[in-house]
């Protein structure tokens, strides 16, 4: 056997980790809670706590061991669970927040920073339990630290549930009001989806779908800094070279994620689910998706050409990553959360990046309008109308869209919300002042598009 030591490759990897923020963004353990159902919320909460503590007992320890041995940071260890509206369907009580509190206590006990799945899937209609869960979201997010909530209000197959869209505008406002003293932190933990995926490892939208196994290890990779660094060598080159360079880089990044996923799955004795091939930025300098778009030749993210640049990036990330992993899933693509991306924040502050441009960008990226602060006096109907627009993009384009809006209570355009930590900070962006109230008041369902009839 020959031992070929390619020191250039080794130094390249070490440089990616040390200087370009290469990391595995999250190992998320998905856990089914369907067997925790009970007719009393307290009994159900007890079962949820016990099961999560048992299943996730070694998650953090295993994650840290892999991190040490391979020398690659695994930034977050997290949990996702069955949408709680399903688990709670038999509960008699109206208030489901005790279930969120049990999730929060379990997350703290096992040492994970977030747990996703305080969720309801209402793309076609509400069950009684869905309504109770949605009503419990504001209180739950205001009184827990680690719990994330999501609601799926539409799909390409079912169309848009406009009653749910209207309801979620009110819920977002209520979340903002209840956490107004913390710059509307509650809203950072609430995602409104169209075409939600069942194996997403990223927060705040992670949940463990009903089509999933008892438990699964899902891994989210990252690496905007690595892609940015690679593009520094292609200045002035045609787009073919840019696309090839991104594909090559995404391949390497994803292989690291696949390795971590396989190891974690073996050590935890839990089946490997998917690798999510995502470029997920953080507020750190050098870890920005916006800066990648600018490296392609744009003066500032948000100017004309940004959508095309993002389309290329999103596609090349998938093409490079898909060969590097045996199972790809989740959201897979480029994320464009404003508050969590240093370049997006700068572009928004400079006035180059607007809500309308972000909406256009979401047609070609992997998610949607993410972590965007809007004026505190934005009405629930306007919030709902923004949700409806974004969900319509998801529905018609057969893609996932997610919205996380932060009404900055007491603040207006020109102010900044400081959410802190991984959530970063967001300049308040203007919304259209004209009313959408009569549109949102209609309710009912927007029918699924023609191409939903694919059978």
């Amino acid at each position: 056997m020959s031992y070929l030591l390619n020191s250039d490759e080794i130094i390249e990897t070490i440089r990616m980790i040390d200087q370009q923020h290469l990391d595995v963004r999250t190992i998320t353990l998905g856990v089914s809670l369907l067997d925790c159902a009970a007719d009393s919320v307290d009994v159900c909460a007890g079962r949820i706590y016990d099961k999560l503590c048992r299943r996730a007992e070694h998650l953090v320890e295993v994650g840290e061991a892999i991190e040490r041995e391979y020398g690659i940071p695994i930034v977050n260890k997290r949990l996702s669970v069955t949408p709680i509206a399903l688990v709670a369907a038999a509960c008699r009580e109206e208030d489901l927040s005790p279930l969120g509190k049990a999730m929060d206590r379990a997350a703290e006990a096992v040492g994970v920073n977030f747990i996703g799945g305080f969720s309801a899937l209402v793309h076609k209609g509400f069950t009684a339990s869905d309504r109770k869960l949605i009503a419990s979201i504001p209180e739950t997010l205001a009184t827990t630290e680690r719990v994330c909530a999501s609601v799926n209000v539409g799909s390409t197959r079912a169309g848009l549930n406009m009653d749910a869209v209207r309801e979620m505008g009110l819920v977002i406002r209520r979340c903002a009001e209840l956490t107004a003293d913390r710059d509307a932190l509650g809203c950072s933990k609430l995602v409104v989806f169209c075409n939600a995926v069942e194996d997403n490892p990223f927060m705040a939208g992670a949940f463990h779908g009903v089509g999933e196994a008892e438990c699964a290890v899902n891994v989210g990779v990252s690496g905007p800094g690595v892609v940015y660094a690679a593009l520094q060598d292609c200045k002035g080159q045609p787009f073919d070279v840019v696309a090839e360079t991104i594909k090559r880089t995404a391949f390497k990044v994803t292989r690291a994620g696949q390795l971590v996923a396989r190891e974690a799955s073996e050590r935890l004795g839990v089946p490997f689910g998917i690798v999510d091939l995502s470029l997920a930025p953080t507020p750190a300098v050098g870890d920005s998706v916006a800066r990648i778009l600018e490296a392609m030749g744009l003066e500032i993210c948000g100017t004309h050409g940004t959508t095309a640049a993002l389309a290329l990036l999103n596609d090349a990330v998938k093409k490079g990553g898909v060969m590097a992993s045996s199972h790809v899933g989740g959201l897979s693509g480029a994320f464009i959360p404003v508050s969590e991306d240093e370049g997006m924040i700068a572009a928004a502050q400079a006035g180059a990046l607007t809500l309308e441009k972000l909406e256009a960008m979401t047609c070609v990226c992997s998610v949607g309008l993410d972590m965007i602060a809007v004026p505190g006096d934005t009405s629930a109907a306007t919030l709902s109308a923004i949700l409806a627009d974004e969900a319509a993009i998801g529905m018609v384009n057969n893609k996932t869209t997610a919205v996380r809006l932060i009404p900055a209570i007491g603040k207006g355009v020109g102010d900044t919300v400081e959410i802190g930590g991984l959530f970063g900070r967001a300049p308040v962006m203007p919304v259209n002042a004209a009313s959408s109230a009569d549109f949102i008041a209609r309710g009912g369902r927007i029918p699924a598009p023609m191409h939903s009839l694919r059978n």
Partner: protein, 89 residues
């Protein structure tokens, strides 16, 4: 288990001797070695076999880091699989 040891430092005499002695003391066999100077920085990469090393990975990692720091060297050890995964199809 095979691992990659990487050493970065400002160049001076005796770095290789110092590090390889520590490896030998701990039953670690060097399978391949490569060293270069990048500007004034000494960079050494070694492929090592840990089969006969009595220490567990975490303890070895700590030992190399501490002994390296005594001489102002940055010493890391990582499992080889990561590099293979990222650079080989």
């Amino acid at each position: 288990m095979k691992a990659i040891v990487s050493v970065f430092a400002r160049d001076r005499k005796g770095i290789t001797a110092y590090i390889t002695a520590i490896l030998a003391e701990n039953g670690i066999n060097i399978l391949d070695i490569s060293q270069t100077l990048m500007q004034e920085f000494f960079t050494m990469i070694m492929l090592v076999d840990l089969a006969d090393c009595p220490l567990d990975f975490g303890a070895l990692q700590k030992l190399l880091k501490e002994r390296g720091a005594e001489r102002g060297l940055s010493v890391h050890i990582q499992r080889q699989d990561l590099f293979d995964a990222m650079h080989k199809v």
